[in-house]
């Protein structure tokens, strides 16, 4: 398997007629970890939803490609099978469908009919991933996200990430609602994915996640654009000084999308 490249060019996205993203440019390659930071209301989650194809978000301009293929032409499930993954901030709850059943469907969706993963192999994999994430074994038989605590939902997103092994993953505020112990466990799961064939875009407005997962590139979003990019040192400066210096530097008064 070769390295993949996700390219976002001049992306404009609207929701209910209101433009949220106003020309985002980003490129993520296999082997790279990127962090997108920024205060609330600057368009970070919109970026992740637009890449995955959330039904409410409308791309009005620009392109998204994965290894040259037009992502915007693909249905949501096609994007996923092409190698994209989104760890969601608010995962849906689905009654009556067990976590294990759902995960197995996701795995088999990538395999040919007649070549489905054996139940034993699947369970072994799931059990070992659940151990890494320190999840109770009974979570496999509970209904998908139903009655899960905030932390359990986030662990479950990472469990899916580890099971599916996408080429490029976007993790949308995977750290929100996690206590420090859970944060360590979740980070460990994500770090374990690190290899040259896996690229990751981590969206957060806290620096603290980046204490456990070191990004290669850091981007700051304001007003629906990436306004500053740098290396890990940028995240450290944001932690120490906040966002005001960037606003001053760029002459921005209100960083949120207007």
């Amino acid at each position: 398997m070769s390295q993949s490249t996700l390219t976002v060019k001049d992306l404009h996205v609207s929701i209910d007629g209101k433009e949220i993203l106003k020309g985002v440019n980003l490129e993520i390659k296999g082997g790279e970890f990127h962090a997108v930071m920024g205060p609330n209301g600057t368009g970070k989650s919109t970026l992740s939803s637009a890449i995955m194809g959330h039904p409410k978000y409308e791309v009005t301009q620009g392109t998204i490609t994965l290894d040259g293929e037009d992502v915007l032409e693909m249905e949501v499930d096609e994007r996923a099978r092409a190698g994209l993954f989104l760890g969601m901030q608010y995962p849906s709850e689905i009654t009556g469908v067990t976590n294990a059943e759902f995960l197995r469907s996701a795995v088999n969706a990538r395999r040919e009919e007649g070549d489905e993963i054996s139940l034993m192999k699947f369970i072994r994999q799931m059990d070992s991933n659940m151990d890494i994430l320190e999840m109770d074994q009974d979570m496999a038989q509970r209904y998908l996200n139903e009655g899960f605590s905030g932390g359990e939902k986030k662990r479950n997103e990472i469990l899916q990430l580890m099971t599916i092994k996408p080429k490029i993953a976007i993790l949308d505020e995977i750290d929100s609602g996690l206590d420090i112990d859970a944060l360590k466990v979740v980070s460990q799961g994500i770090n374990q994915m690190r290899d040259e064939n896996f690229g990751c875009l981590i969206i957060t407005h806290y620096q603290r996640l980046l204490d456990y997962i070191t990004p290669d590139h850091v981007h700051v979003m304001m007003q629906g654009r990436v306004v500053k990019s740098g290396g890990p040192e940028l995240a450290h400066r944001l932690e120490a000084e906040g966002y005001d210096w960037i606003k001053q530097e760029l002459g921005i008064e209100d960083e949120t999308v207007q």
């Binding site: 995955m52 009556g96 469908v97 469907s105």
Partner: protein, 436 residues
């Protein structure tokens, strides 16, 4: 008044009755009902207009099918529900109206259990059948369809469990319609005497399509003192068959009746399921799943009437509507004056998968007694696009995502069905109907 064109007349009934050597009481009951049928009104299921529906036009009242020689000869769909020949101990198979296979274990025969086709029952156990046939649970003159049923009964089974006999394995009846002309007028009587227990499961299977057909099905369950009856049904009749199905039970003190019903027919349906809790301390539990597709119009009334003190009635119904299917769920918990300390609970939920599907859930509590508890929950909604988005974002196709959501929606009922065999069958049949 719409003119009802009858395909049968008295002579058809007399000939059929004579050909089957029926006792005189039954012929008289048939003729009496037939005369009343013309003037009696149709039932009036809440919120569904059925006066243009076809309840009277069908190919033939009686088709001469050759009985299946053995379980190995059954159509595939039937084999699946009957299982391996050596495990199908207590089973009745009917081909159109014709009794085909009847197995009853020696042990049960010895214990005095009667399990036989309707025609044999009225000959060999005339007094018993006469005692129960449309006398105390369902009456012939309730409306046009009950009267038509009484006049035209052409199949069904009689199951009698004597006092203190507990039947461990399910007793099964499989009704196969493989002749497009065959009209189904099955009557099922289950009598469970005091302290007995039995699980009865029936399947309706069409293997042919028909231009117009009728199924008019009535079940009467009589549960004696402290008896336990678990009644399962999985209906899969073809598209152009109008189904009237009335499954009703009465309980003596401390008796239990549990219904596990899967309505997977492809045509229009009027379904009544009623339990009259007569005896003190008696109990009714109805669990039902429905999948509607195509242009089906369906009306399901589930009713538990509490007469006895300390009676408990539970209704749990979930339905999924695809395409342009339309379903009305009426849930009625009725507590009569004097039925103190009773409890009536119900939950009805409908999930609509398409813009054109329609659903309506009407929970009704009619309470004429102070010292009782009751509750209801109902919901009707469309599938959540964010749920589908979430599933699809993991690479699952839209079709598979819908399948998971439907399966999940019905699972809380299916997983609680008390009859393991019905649970297993339904999972497969739901899958098939959803993929249609």
């Amino acid at each position: 008044m719409t003119e009802t064109k009858w395909l049968v007349d008295e002579s058809v009934i007399r000939d059929f009755s004579a050909a089957n050597n029926e006792p005189e009481w039954l012929l008289n009951a048939r003729l009496d009902a037939f005369n009343k049928a013309e003037d009696l009104p149709l039932p009036k299921p809440d919120k569904t207009k059925i006066d243009k529906w076809n309840f009277t036009q069908f190919g033939a009242h009686n088709v001469n099918s050759t009985p299946y020689a053995s379980i190995a000869d059954l159509p595939e769909k039937a084999k699946v529900v009957v299982g391996e020949e050596n495990t199908a101990q207590n089973v009745y198979v009917q081909r159109n109206g014709v009794p085909s296979i009847l197995n009853l274990s020696a042990e049960l025969k010895e214990a005095g259990v009667i399990f036989t086709d309707f025609a044999t029952a009225v000959k060999e156990h005339s007094d018993l059948v006469q005692k129960y046939f449309m006398t105390q649970v369902v009456k012939a003159d309730e409306h046009k369809l009950t009267a038509l049923h009484a006049a035209l009964v052409n199949g069904g089974v009689f199951l009698y469990v004597p006092k203190n006999v507990e039947i461990k394995e399910p007793v099964q009846a499989v009704f196969i319609q493989d002749d497009k002309n065959a009209a189904i007028f099955n009557h099922v009587i289950v009598v469970a005497e005091a302290n007995s227990s039995v699980t009865y499961v029936e399947n309706y299977i069409s293997t042919v399509e028909t231009e117009q057909g009728v199924a008019n099905i009535i079940t009467e369950v009589i549960a004696g003192d402290n008896a336990r009856v678990s009644y399962g049904a999985v209906d899969t009749l073809a598209e152009n068959i109008t189904v009237y199905v009335n499954r009703r039970g009465v309980t003596a003190p401390h008796a239990h009746i549990e219904w596990s019903l899967g309505s997977m027919n492809d045509g229009n349906i009027v379904s009544e399921n009623v339990t009259n809790l007569i005896g003190d301390g008696s109990y009714a539990d109805t669990k039902m799943v429905v999948v509607g597709s195509g242009k089906q119009s369906m009306n399901f009334t589930t009713k538990v009437v509490h007469f006895g003190k300390h009676t408990e009635g539970y209704i749990l119904k979930h339905g999924v509507m695809k395409d342009e299917a339309k379903a009305i769920f009426n849930g009625i918990g009725k507590i009569e004056h004097g039925a103190s300390k009773s409890n009536a609970e119900q939950e009805s939920r409908i999930l609509m998968l398409s813009e054109k599907a329609r659903g309506d859930a009407n929970p009704i509590l009619l309470i004429d007694e102070d010292d009782v508890t009751a509750g209801h929950a109902a919901s009707v909604g469309r599938v959540d696009p964010l749920q589908l988005y979430y599933l699809m974002s993991r690479g699952i196709t839209k079709q598979e995502a819908e399948r998971l959501v439907i399966h999940g929606f019905l699972a809380p009922v299916v997983n609680k069905l008390p009859i393991e065999n019905v649970k297993k069958q339904l999972k497969g049949i739901i899958e098939g109907k959803v993929r249609q």
